[in-house]
Symmetry: C2
Subunit: 370 residues, 2 copies
């Protein structure tokens, strides 16, 4: 047995043979919701922690012990999944020993989960689970590049053979990636839990990669992202989804929503294609600056637009650095008589509010009689 264990240890250490696996624990979530963060950096002269629960530009100082481990205990933090990074003498890094990584288009961060008891809507509960299916598609619009698309299917979908489902296109923010809504947004668990409580209609949720123009491109190119993404979504992604899944026909069965950059995309693509979509959700949206002029037609025809848009749902946190954008959109829509919901909430520009918004938005979709 000893020899067996030795081999296991060596295998784990492969590629880090020169450094035995660190036994450091970080983050450590305490039962009361306080969290201890640790990083071993004996030679550093200053280490700080940044977390998405802190105010903008907030940082917490960390203290070094005799063994060169920097730590800080914070909280209690309200139950959620938070992003954080360390700054080690000015170098921003994810937590080296925390396996829960927030994947991004560029750079990465770490995630820490402070659970709720009983489990919150975004947590795993003992309910039937849907699947998330990853497709690889060669995109004609994107010059033959192969992109992945993450797709949620509700519990029981594979066992059905006839039933057809409505579809929600759910878009992520800038610097995020296709897995974001699953691995940080817990969209699949939120839907599972809503469905178990019969609070939502079973739906397919399509989560493509939102950077059609490479993230980090020069600004002239970056400005073309939404237009190119729109082509990609409508000409590559939608046909694949229509072909691969049993989707219910017609605009009544199609919705589009997104967060931040994805909220801007949902507004632009939704308003631009009211023949295709009957519901639009904009979470902490990067509302396009030209929204009023671009959609002058739809905005001046309140009756026609209201007849088409069964649900226009806008939400933003009052501490969000782009709060004014959502507020201005709300006022514009009200002035023009466009029916909509504006959820002004607590919170900032983080997945903490986006999980909450999905939990409020999804139950409003695809309701019979609306």
């Amino acid at each position: 047995v000893k020899q067996f264990w030795l081999i296991m240890f060596l295998c784990a250490g492969a590629f880090s043979q020169n450094a035995p696996p660190d036994t450091l624990v970080s983050p450590e979530v305490h039962p009361d919701g306080r969290v201890t963060f640790r990083i071993r950096a004996p030679k550093a002269s200053e280490v700080t922690l940044a977390g998405d629960w802190m105010p903008a530009n907030g940082r917490e100082a960390m203290k070094k012990d005799a063994e060169g481990v920097w730590s800080v205990m914070l909280g209690p933090l309200p139950p959620s999944i938070y992003l954080y990074t360390f700054s080690v003498d000015g170098l921003t890094v994810a937590d080296p020993v925390n396996p829960r990584v927030k994947l991004r288009s560029r750079t990465s961060a770490s995630l820490v989960e402070v659970p709720s008891d009983p489990p919150a809507l975004w947590q795993v509960r003992d309910v039937p689970h849907g699947k998330v299916e990853i497709h690889w598609q060669r995109s004609a619009v994107l010059n033959g590049e192969t992109r992945w698309i993450w797709v949620y299917t509700p519990p029981g979908y594979a066992k059905e053979t006839k039933r057809r489902y409505p579809v929600l296109y759910l878009l992520h923010g800038s610097n995020d990636v296709a897995p974001g809504w699953t691995l940080a947004g817990n969209a699949n668990l939120i839907l599972d839990n809503l469905l178990a409580e019969k609070k939502a209609t079973p739906m397919i949720v399509v989560m493509p990669y939102g950077h059609a123009v490479p993230f980090g491109s020069p600004r002239e190119l970056q400005a073309k992202n939404t237009a190119l993404f729109e082509q990609y979504l409508l000409q590559d992604v939608a046909p694949l989804v229509e072909s691969e899944y049993r989707l219910a026909a017609g605009r009544d069965n199609r919705a589009i929503a997104g967060l931040s950059m994805g909220g801007g995309q949902a507004l632009t693509i939704g308003f631009g294609h009211l023949d295709r979509f009957s519901a639009v959700g904009a979470f902490s949206a990067a509302v396009p600056a030209d929204f009023e002029t671009r959609f002058a037609g739809a905005l001046s025809d309140a009756k026609g637009t209201n007849a088409k848009l069964k649900l226009l749902w806008i939400a933003c946190g009052r501490d969000d650095f782009i709060w004014e954008r959502s507020k201005a959109l709300d006022e514009l829509l009200s002035k023009r008589g466009i029916e909509h919901t504006f959820r002004a909430t607590e919170g900032a520009h983080t997945y903490t509010v986006w999980r909450q918004y999905l939990g409020e938005f999804a139950p409003l979709l695809f309701r019979p009689g609306r």
Copy 2:
């Protein structure tokens, strides 16, 4: 347009408002296969690079420029996907600006892809793609913990309604995670490419999480991992897969293989359940030290075992730190007259050889007449 871009920029910068997105590029893969690695760490006094293409304990020194960016150009490296980390004054970190992260049970590393032209077997080619489906399952064996299981389905699987498929259980190594065989091993692309060339039988590939006992547990507990994982695989994972997929019946249609720790698990579970499995693959395996005594029965009944084991495929690189284990297994099996293949290759304990092994192993599975 300017204002629009500004918002996009701000959204990307959310949670890092205090530091505008770094424009640093790392890794930069040059057309000739050389790679430049960079990290901005102005205050560090020593930065080195470790990569899984280097000999054990190998490190490359990096040099700092006037702006505090450390860099080194290496190679040309043969086409593959490599793991690497930086050591900044002794702190091991993934590349902070490289979004391609090798997820692990503990710690993480970065991946760099040196492409081949024409594309290698593990690269995306213009062929029909299968899907990878993520299931969430509450495990009875693991006290109600919910674990995910990644499952590859071949192109066309969802469109078929009657055809039944054989299944390969494909296990990862120590400190790896369920997504490892997909995100670093490219198992899905390897299968897609083999299928496009009609070099393999369409199969379902099941990739569960191999740490039933938490990775990093004390050694007494860690030693029980394979036994507990075996229960989990056979009592939780297999029934889910049998229920969710159209699997062909019988042991002839079931194989089990794995790399490193997973190779040890495949040998243990395969030999322990020859009633269930007809093929076993052990890639750079952590061959259990008690293999000879534990499976004394099967080893002393060469005729019976050979009749059951249609394929026993063992592979290891000559530079692998556990090469001797595979070599000793080969010799033991030969001595006992157990039919098997032993592929002694170049290479070490890395995904570079494991992708190659899967590409050689998969075509040998589920062949009619064997």
